[in-house]
């Protein structure tokens, strides 16, 4: 009886092999398609902006996974929250992979944000975050390419003078500036961390 069982078992096993191979193959294919589909976000692009240490060109740094955020330094709540989230997500990536990360704050307030202040500001959160800005026209054009929105809002009777309304989102790009994924504003680094892990693999 054992022999008969062995014979049947072996047969069944042989029949199952192609099925298993097919399913595994489909999984791998789907995963790679998802990665490619994400690449087709059709937003983003290469750029050259100013930093305290000279012009910064995205495509001049091959192999980097860039995390871009549009904000400004006079913002007391949303922007510090986002940069802190970015810093904490970075810290949770293993060191050997962390060197691939480049955090970028693009200031939508070039009138008030000087390059040196931008540098002090971003370095406060993490050494791998750089602060960039340029002329208002260049920043506006670039924000449109990324699908980021911002506008000046005069607030009467406030000592702030004006505030800047803006979308709050992280844009993860490859070294060509192609947006691979976006992560919405949140007080927790979890969503950004998940996205970073996904893109670093």
């Amino acid at each position: 009886m054992l022999d008969s069982f062995k014979k049947h078992f072996f047969k069944a096993f042989l029949m199952l092999l192609p099925v298993v191979a097919l399913v595994a193959g489909m999984e791998i294919y789907q995963k790679s398609q998802m990665k490619n589909a994400a690449k087709m976000m059709q937003i983003g692009g290469d750029f050259t902006l100013q930093s305290a240490d000279g012009p910064f060109t995205l495509s001049a740094r091959p192999g980097k996974l860039n995390v871009i955020y549009f904000g400004y330094t006079q913002c007391p709540d949303v922007c510090p929250t986002s940069l802190s989230v970015m810093a904490h997500a970075f810290k949770q990536i293993p060191e050997n992979q962390r060197t691939k990360l480049q955090g970028i704050l693009i200031s939508v307030d070039p009138e008030r944000d000087t390059l040196q202040h931008l540098k002090n500001y971003t370095q406060f959160f993490h050494p791998q975050i750089i602060g960039l800005t340029d002329t208002p026209e260049k920043i506006l054009a670039l924000s449109r390419k990324y699908g980021a929105f911002y506008q000046k809002a005069q607030i009467d009777n406030s000592a702030m003078g004006y505030t800047i309304d803006h979308t709050s989102m992280f844009y993860l790009t490859n070294d060509k500036g192609e947006v691979l994924e976006t992560v919405n504003h949140s007080a927790s680094p979890d969503a950004l961390l998940e996205a970073l892990k996904r893109q670093l693999d």
Partner: protein, 150 residues
């Protein structure tokens, strides 16, 4: 001289006594900022111990030129920050000043805000009471984790 002194002492204590009767200030903190930064935010939980609604109408601090009350609204994905004239605390209820929502804004910092230091802030309420609150300066993420715990 003594009468005058006694009167002065009572005048100073009374507002604090009044405040102690109406609004509790729980877990206040100011956000640490990079050196040279001009603005920052203060967050806290305000608990109204009276049955009647009361509002925070003004705040003042020696660490900044101006202190204002602000809130955020999310309008179709766009974050907007606006000044408000008051922050209401419902009767026997509470209002949470937290990141993304209400905050007390410090504009024109006169000193750097380093983690571990303390700042003193005066809070004025609609019922005439005033509270002097000492609070720690906390790093952004440390503060946010504290809010999440509630």
């Amino acid at each position: 001289m003594k009468k005058w002194l006694t009167a002065l002492i009572f005048a100073l204590i009374t507002p604090m006594a009044l405040a102690a009767n109406t609004v509790d200030v729980v877990n206040p903190y100011a956000r640490a900022v990079p050196p040279g930064q001009t603005n920052s935010a203060i967050f806290m939980m305000l608990k109204n111990k009276s049955a009647k609604e009361v509002s925070l109408i003004r705040a003042q601090s020696g660490v900044a030129e101006t202190v204002e009350l602000h809130t955020h609204t999310m309008d179709q994905g766009v974050m907007k920050m606006r000044q408000v004239s008051e922050i209401r605390i419902p009767g026997n209820g509470m209002t949470h000043l937290k990141p993304g929502g209400y905050h007390i804004m410090l504009i024109g910092l006169k000193q750097n805000l380093f983690e571990g230091q303390k700042v003193s802030v005066k809070l004025y309420f609609s019922n005439g009471s005033m509270a002097v609150v000492e609070m720690p300066i906390k790093k952004v993420m440390a503060g946010m984790k504290q809010h999440a715990a509630h």
